[in-house]
C-alpha cells in the first residue's frame, strides 16, 4: 500500500514519546467517545 497512512520506513519522525504507566484515557471525553463507538457497534447503528 502506498500513501501517507503507511508510515513504515519513513524517516525523521523524532524520538518515541514513551509514557510510563500511561493511563487508558488521557481525557474524560476519550472514554465517552470510545464507549459510544462500542455501543453503536453492538447495535449496528
Amino acid at each position: 500500500m502506498n500513501g501517507v497512512h503507511d508510515m513504515g520506513g519513513m524517516q525523521c519522525m523524532g524520538p518515541i514519546a514513551y509514557e510510563k504507566n500511561e493511563p487508558v484515557f488521557h481525557a474524560h471525553w476519550e472514554g465517552r467517545v470510545q464507549a459510544l463507538y462500542i455501543a453503536m457497534g453492538a447495535w449496528r447503528k
Partner: protein, 175 residues
C-alpha cells in the same frame, strides 16, 4: 452517561488486566500443552479463557527465545489485540514508532531500554485489519520457583508487544 456506556467503558477498556495477562502468557510459561495450542492457533487458545471480542477475531502468537526477538507494530494505523491488551498506548500509535519499527527495530528497542545481542534475530510483525499479534515473552532465568500467578504478575503489557522483556525486577517496561 447512561449505564450502558459507563458499563462498556469500565468493562472493556481497562488495559491489561492481570487476568488477561495470565490467560495470554503465563499459562504458556508453565504449561507446555497450552503453549503448543497458543502457538498453533492463538485465537482458539485465548478463547479458552473467554477473551473474545472485537479486534481479536484472528490473533497470532509469536514466541521470543534467546535467539529470536519479536516486535509488533501497525505501520498503517494502530491495529492491536483489544480483547487482550485493551486500547493501544499513544506511543504505539505515534509516527516515530510506526515509521522506525520496521527499518530500525534495534534502535527502537534501545529507546525502550533494551539492548539485544548481535546474534539475536529480530522479527517485526506488521498488524493488519485482519491479523493481530501478541508476543509470548521468554521466561526469565532463575524463575523456576515461581508459580503461575507470580509469573503472571511479571508479564507486562510492553512485554506482549515486544518492547520489553519479562524480568524478575519489572525492569524495562511498564504494565
Amino acid at each position: 452517561m447512561s449505564w450502558t456506556l459507563a458499563h462498556h467503558r469500565r468493562r472493556v477498556f481497562r488495559r491489561c488486566g492481570s487476568a488477561r495477562r495470565c490467560a495470554g502468557n503465563s499459562s504458556c510459561l508453565v504449561d507446555a500443552d497450552y503453549k503448543k495450542r497458543l502457538l498453533a492457533d492463538a485465537t482458539a487458545a485465548i478463547a479458552e479463557f473467554g477473551f473474545t471480542n472485537q479486534q481479536g477475531e484472528h490473533i497470532v502468537a509469536v514466541e521470543n527465545t534467546a535467539k529470536v526477538h519479536n516486535l509488533i507494530v501497525c505501520t498503517l494505523c494502530c491495529c492491536y489485540p483489544w480483547p487482550l491488551l485493551g486500547l493501544s498506548p499513544v506511543w504505539y500509535k505515534s509516527a516515530p514508532y510506526r515509521s522506525r519499527a520496521v527499518i530500525d527495530p534495534r534502535g527502537v528497542l534501545r529507546e525502550f531500554g533494551m539492548e539485544l545481542p548481535e546474534d539475536a534475530a529480530v522479527r517485526v510483525w506488521d498488524s493488519t485489519a485482519e491479523a493481530r499479534y501478541i508476543v509470548l515473552p521468554e521466561r526469565p532465568s532463575n524463575s523456576d520457583q515461581l508459580s503461575e500467578q507470580e509469573l503472571a504478575a511479571l508479564v507486562t503489557h510492553d512485554a506482549m508487544v515486544g518492547v520489553a522483556k519479562v524480568t524478575l525486577s519489572h525492569a524495562g517496561g511498564a504494565t
